[in-house]
Amino acid sequence: MVDAATAHDAAAEPAATEAPAGPGLWTGFRAMLGRDLRLAVRQRGEAARVVMFFVLTATLFPFGLGPEPNLLARIAPGVVWVTALLSVLLSLDRLFLTDYEDGSLELMVQTPVPLSVLVLAKTAAHWLTTGLPLCVAAPVIALMYAMPAEAYPVLLAAMALGTPSLSLIGSVGAALTVGARRGGILVPLLVLPLYIPILIFGVAAVDAALAGLPVRPHLLLLGAMLLAALPLAPWAAAGAVRQAVD
């Protein structure tokens, strides 16, 4: 027993006397993700508000265009994607703002965990509370627009691949404008042009499914954009956060 205890202590000591390397990347990521998710849960309504905006806006189009089912079915993919885009856009503000205002952002910059890892974690939390609920709500809208059944799986796949990119690119816009005067108006101007490729291929995937054309190229492109955004966006956003905090 004593041997085991001292052996344990001996093993623990080198770790203790090593210079604190700080929590590992994964630990830091998980901690940040958990924190943001807990905060989101405490604030409750956020995901619900995003979905509400999504559904409400999508509901406006029939009022504007008329309820004719063929028309609605034709515009369904576009409407779903554009309103999803706008919903994500609206929610970007809160990504960094509260942390900026209460000083947590400064602390994040100073921790040994690389800032881009923390930003990635925050973006992941953002997607889980924004993009993911939208993926769930999208088929409901598609239903109301009488979109034919064969397109639903593709719609889900495309949104699952596309909405994380929306959060990632959006995080760059949010970081650039945090604390700016009238920053809320600025974010759409910065971010929407960058969203256009995702929009184009997201809709193209669904349209292809409806037309019986190959869907994979579009999904692959969406996937490629996501893979490109995953390392690049947090890095750019981290740079922008540092500007904000300096």
């Binding site: 604390g179 910065l190 490729p197």
Partner: protein, 262 residues
């Protein structure tokens, strides 16, 4: 009195801080710009004058498009310049972020409104060129739509550079945005091209440059050169102006610190 005569060499900043490159040596740039601007200005006038003569007189009308093809000689150079200026801004932003050279920041900020203006011109002249051809003022063809998105990227860049009271942050944020936007331009172009082929029926033609024959290529190149020289001249003027503005701010700050009146 070495300090009195040392106006052309890098005088060591007070306090002997690290290399002067961190800070603009405004005197040097001003003198350089003053030397260069008359030349680029003169060349601009020559090129534009020659280009106009070639575009409006010497070059032939198009077989299909008639005289309206002459709009190409302002539309294409404007579109070319909108891309060129954006590339300049991206390069300057990269230099500003990586090497922290303050003149680079300055160049990017000074260039942006000029680029936006040319993008706007590209859009409007594109519409004017297209209306007699397609019958509508706007078509969602690949090139015009891409230029429209580029216009939004410019507006965003200008907006963010001015959104902060602490203008240092605004310029650095603008630099990041410029780079992010630049990386996205080919992606956007590719997406819009693809989107366009999907939705446009084959019969609707793009605002095509006609098969370029030498008699049309030369006016185009000369006009493009003239526009580019115009941009360079204007950029130098604006950079001079911005540097003076920075110095004015400095002076006023020093005045306030000394408690002097305005």
């Amino acid at each position: 009195m070495s300090s009195e005569t040392a106006t052309d060499t890098h005088t060591r900043p007070a306090g002997g801080r690290r290399s002067l490159h961190r800070f603009a040596n405004p005197g040097r740039f001003q003198r350089l710009a003053d030397a260069v601007i008359p030349w680029t200005g003169a060349l601009t006038v020559v090129c534009l004058a020659a280009g106009l003569v070639m575009a409006l007189w010497l070059s032939p009308a198009d077989y299909q498009q008639g005289e309206s093809v002459r709009i190409m000689y302002v539309h294409v150079p404007a579109a070319w310049l909108s891309l060129f200026v954006y590339t300049t801004i991206a390069v300057a932003s990269a230099v500003a972020l990586v090497w922290r050279h303050p003149l680079a920041d300055l160049a990017a900020r000074a260039a942006s409104p000029v680029g936006a203006a040319f993008t706007f011109l590209a859009l409007v002249t594109g519409s004017l060129w297209g209306k007699p051809m397609w019958g509508t003022w706007w078509v969602w063809d690949a090139r015009l739509t891409s230029v429209l998105v580029l216009f939004f990227l410019y507006l965003g860049h200008m907006a963010i550079a001015n959104a902060f009271e602490d203008t240092g942050r605004g310029r650095r944020a603008a630099a990041i945005l410029a780079l992010v936007g630049f990386v996205n331009v080919p992606i956007i172009k590719f997406s819009v091209d693809w989107w366009n082929t999907l939705h446009q029926p084959a019969s609707v033609s793009r605002v095509g440059t006609p098969a370029i024959d030498a008699s049309m290529l030369w006016p185009l190149l000369v006009m493009a050169l003239g526009f580019t020289l115009f941009f360079v001249t204007l950029l130098l003027v604006r950079m001079k102006s911005d540097l003076m503005g920075a110095r004015l701010r400095n002076l006023r700050l020093m005045q306030v610190q000394r408690g002097e009146g305005g």
